[in-house]
């Protein structure tokens, strides 16, 4: 194969071996094989190589290569396969959980004030009620002094009784109302909301992580 003539000889002999020459070319090769020892030697080498190659056995495939619809999915649809979707869901729920926990720890007070501004009104109202109650005995004394002669009319006696009973009434009515409002605030405080959200997100993380870890069946 080092010179052009030899390469051409190889080509002819190779095609002759495979029966791929025209009748005329085949005839020429036969004549040369009979008269040229080197040419004949070369032919034997080609024959030998060909026999070695054809002696190699064929191998059975390790499995069938039939295809399923799932295998035909595009890369993008595979990217968003079930398993990956659950992995993403786990990651998102995890991030949300971290955010909620941080929010719970760091900004409970601020969240309380921003979320429940009405609590300030309730407390102000409670302060006003208590101020009125505290001022009641003084108003009674003032009233008695104005009348001077310690004559207490039935109307005055009634008013006096009302004023004396005022603190108790406030305690029994407004006090209960205030206590109820505060309890409501406590019951629905952002702290509880945070904790509820934390529990939900934690459950989401666990469930989605479990679903993501489930093995997909292998095709074939």
């Amino acid at each position: 194969m080092n010179n052009k003539l030899r390469q051409k000889d190889w080509e002819f002999l190779s095609a002759y071996l495979d029966g791929e020459l025209s009748d005329e070319e085949e005839h020429d090769v036969r004549i040369r094989l009979a008269s040229d020892n080197a040419f004949d030697e070369l032919y034997k080498k080609i024959q030998y190589t060909h026999k070695l190659l054809t002696a190699l056995p064929h191998v059975d495939p390790p499995r069938h290569f039939t295809i399923s619809r799932e295998m035909l999915q595009s890369k993008w649809s595979k990217l968003f396969s079930k398993s990956l979707s659950w992995n993403i869901a786990t990651a998102v729920a995890g991030v949300m959980l971290v955010v909620v926990v941080l929010g719970d720890v760091l900004s409970f007070g601020a969240a309380l004030e921003q979320s429940f501004p009405e609590s300030a009104f309730v407390l102000e109202a409670a302060d006003a009620d208590f101020a009125e109650v505290a001022a009641a005995p003084e108003a009674l004394e003032e009233n008695r002094a104005d009348d001077g002669a310690a004559q207490v009319t039935s109307e005055e006696a009634q008013k006096e009784a009302e004023l004396e009973a005022a603190p108790l009434a406030i305690d029994e009515t407004d006090g209960i109302e205030i206590a109820g409002d505060v309890q409501e605030i406590i019951d629905s405080s952002p702290g509880n909301i945070f904790r509820f959200a934390e529990a939900v997100l934690l459950a989401m993380v666990i469930i989605s992580a479990w679903l993501a870890r489930r093995k997909k069946p292998k095709p074939n």
Binding site: M1, Q7, W10, E11, L13, S14, A15, D18, E20, K44, K45, I46, Q47, Y48, T49, H50, K51, L52, L53, T54, A55, L56, P57, H58, V59, D60, P61, P62, R63, H64, F65, T66, I67, S68, R69, M71, L72
Partner: protein
């Protein structure tokens, strides 16, 4: 159902019909893949990818020769897979490698009818030949595999390679020349039965 009918059905999206074509051609496809890659795993992946690709591209098949068209896809899939896994074919020829069982030569030669000595000899020979095939350039290798190992005639092989018959003839003769020289270089490694000076034994 004949091949043409199966192809027509598969073109309409009939996966069952296409899978019948797969079953009919998978052995040939896998043998081509394993000769090109010399690796069971890569050949298997390449064959599978080739069939998937063939189904997707089936509408582009114009009806010359399904076998040639399919093997062209298999060949491309093999080189894609080799590139993807960045593996050199020669690596698998190390007999001392732990992956020897993955090497095709240790699997394809098993013949229940032969003695252990005969099997060992055939194994040695196959390893030597495969090593010589692996050293060929891509086009020479493909020509040699298609004609000498797969038994294609020049017409089918040239269709598969998408090249003229004259080009194929030239490539094939050069490939045979290179392999012959390579085998001469490892004559002493070949079992005596398979040496050139005792070719009548073949």
């Amino acid at each position: 159902m004949n091949e043409i009918a199966l192809i027509q059905s598969a073109k309409q999206g009939d996966l069952k019909a296409f899978n019948e074509l797969v079953l009919a051609h998978e052995k040939m496809a896998f043998n081509l893949a394993i000769r090109i890659t010399n690796d069971y795993s890569i050949a298997s992946d390449a064959s599978q990818n080739a069939f998937i690709s063939a189904f997707k591209k089936l509408k582009t098949f114009r009806g010359d020769s399904f076998k040639a068209w399919l093997l062209r896809i298999v060949t491309n899939a093999c080189y894609d897979e080799l590139r993807k896994k960045k593996r050199l074919i020669n690596k698998n020829l190390d007999l001392d490698s732990d992956q020897e069982d993955q090497n095709l030569t240790s699997k394809w030669l098993k013949d229940p009818g032969e003695s252990p000595e005969e099997w060992a000899q055939r194994k040695e020979m196959a390893i030597a030949i495969q090593q010589c095939i692996d050293n060929l350039e891509k086009d020479f290798k493909q020509a040699l595999i298609l004609v000498d190992i797969q038994g294609f005639d020049y017409q089918e092989a040239s269709l598969t390679m998408d090249s003229p018959i004259g080009t194929l003839r030239s490539r094939l003769s050069r490939a045979r020349g290179i392999v012959q020289e390579c085998l001469q270089g490892v004559q002493e490694l070949l079992p005596s039965k398979y040496r050139l000076d005792s070719e009548t034994n073949l």
